[in-house]
Amino acid sequence: MVSFAPTSSETVEDQRRYTQARLVEVACLDCLAVVRVKKNSEHQTSIQWDSTSLEHCTEFARAASQPEGRPIRVGCSRLRSSIEQAVKDGAIEVGAEDGY
């Protein structure tokens, strides 16, 4: 089904570049979750989860058991620390490559 279909193959490559390129796997130091991370700068972070990592996250599981459920805005503080550690260890390159 055609929806917002690009008309150029370069657009498909752009879509891949902006959503997939340079994502680095980071394992949470507290649970079994493994996410993919990119840092364009010191103060920017992208985190790509998948269904498996989401199931593993204990902090999210705890939040989900609350009566009001898990608010999607809130991230996992343990994962945040794990990412900070990965940056310190040099596992995540900080900086963008021509804007992506």
């Binding site: 089904m1 055609v2 929806s3 279909a5 690009p6 008309t7 985190i47 999607i72």
Partner: protein, 386 residues
């Protein structure tokens, strides 16, 4: 258009051949409760909305299946809507209930009906080109305290937008920089999360001191914390916590739209204010009116851009831009068959920018400029400015 080999092309792409699956808001429910049929333009056609004797709101395709008469120009008779052409009576269940001049109603006299819901005083319909059953588990969030009278009455606005696909409106969720340039506010913290059928934007900002209008009406004295969530493809609830010189207000902004064609949509936005303890209704209404004007101006700033821009499937991003590609990937889920939703469209994605550090620098710069000016004024023998 360009012939230089290294010049970048804009891919305008092809607009979608269908409309988004999900719950769509048609407006404040009260506006349909006057015993008359109402017309709503939607999805390349028209809908008829009316209230029956039980107080239920019904939504059907606007055109009579007999000879195509426009039901929105008919009358409500009993529980049914009657066509102005030959008085065929249509019920909220989509069936023709009576044809006054006929001995019997044809068995096949059924029209397109839409499942309805009322949330936050607003009427919703379920739309799905595949004809699936309405999924009430993903209805938008009911605001706590609204039904209990803790908020002012809705101030509701409707604007027709011609010449833009409604995805332009969605793009704003990830567009951090436009708040600075279009709305004159200064984001200090910005966060997007896309997961399942929800897309959230969280932002903290202040007004720009060098601009008037938009969100900067009150300059840097205005501190704004905003959390906005799309519940499905078209209905956004935006919580705004405004701090103006220590006076804190909780404002709710509803931003919802109905696509009317691939190149137009109806924008509706509603504003309410949480009544502060001990404040009289007139003051609350005054504040609500103020914010309606401010955020209304904000929308008009966007509209002006949309009306003049073109569609772009391949936006070129710099490293300070928000995740527009991931947002569009999320939005795509509403335009494919349910069976064709791929995991990337619904998997959790987080994007965060915290410019607190950058702003420290920015504020220092402003302070330094003010110090310089004070020193110059003193040297010139001018009184100290306050």
């Amino acid at each position: 258009m360009s012939t230089a080999t290294d010049a970048r092309s804009l891919d305008q792409g092809v607009p979608p051949a269908r409309y988004a699956r999900g719950w769509h808001c048609l407006g404040l429910a009260a506006t349909f409760r006057d015993g008359k049929p109402h017309a709503i333009r939607a999805f390349d056609g028209k809908l008829v909305v009316w209230e029956d004797s039980k107080g239920d709101l019904n939504v059907l395709d606007a055109y009579c299946r007999h000879m195509g008469g426009d039901l929105t120009q008919g009358e409500v008779k009993g529980d049914d809507v009657a066509c102005p052409f030959h008085d065929w009576r249509w019920g909220g269940d989509g069936k023709c209930k009576a044809i006054p001049y006929a001995r019997r109603v044809p068995l096949r006299a059924k029209t397109q009906r839409y499942e309805t819901a009322i949330v936050n005083d607003q009427l919703f319909i379920w739309f799905d080109p595949e004809g699936s059953e309405a999924d009430r588990s993903i209805l938008p969030y009911q605001l706590p305290g609204l039904a209990e009278g803790e908020y002012a009455d809705w101030s509701w606005n409707i604007t027709e937008i011609e010449g833009s696909n409604c995805r332009e409106l969605i793009d704003n969720v990830s567009d951090m920089a436009h708040f600075y340039y279009v709305h004159f506010s200064f984001p200090t913290s910005f966060r997007n999360v896309f997961e399942g059928h929800l897309a959230t934007q969280y932002m903290e900002s202040t007004g720009r001191p060098d601009k008037a209008g938009g969100y900067s009406s009150a300059g840097t004295d205005l501190f704004l914390k905003s959390e906005a969530t799309y519940y499905g493809p078209s209905y956004m609830i935006n919580w705004l916590w405004v701090d103006y010189k220590g006076f804190k207000t909780e404002v709710i902004l509803i931003n919802t739209h109905i696509a009317t064609s691939p190149n137009s949509f109806t924008l509706q936005y509603g504003i309410t204010v949480k009544k502060p303890e001990g404040m009289d209704d007139a003051t609350v209404a005054f504040i609500a009116e103020k914010y309606t004007k401010m955020f209304g101006e904000g929308f008009l700033q966007d509209v002006h851009i949309w009306k003049n821009k073109i569609a772009v499937q391949n936006p070129l991003l710099c490293e300070e831009d928000g995740p527009v590609y991931q947002l569009r990937r999320w939005y795509e889920q509403f335009y494919v068959d349910k069976a064709d939703i791929v995991p990337e469209m619904v998997e959790r994605f987080e994007f965060e920018v915290d410019t607190t550090k950058a702003n420290e620098y920015w504020h220092e710069e402003v302070a330094e400029n003010l110090r310089k000016k004070a020193a110059e004024d003193a040297a010139a023998g001018l009184p100290v400015a306050h």
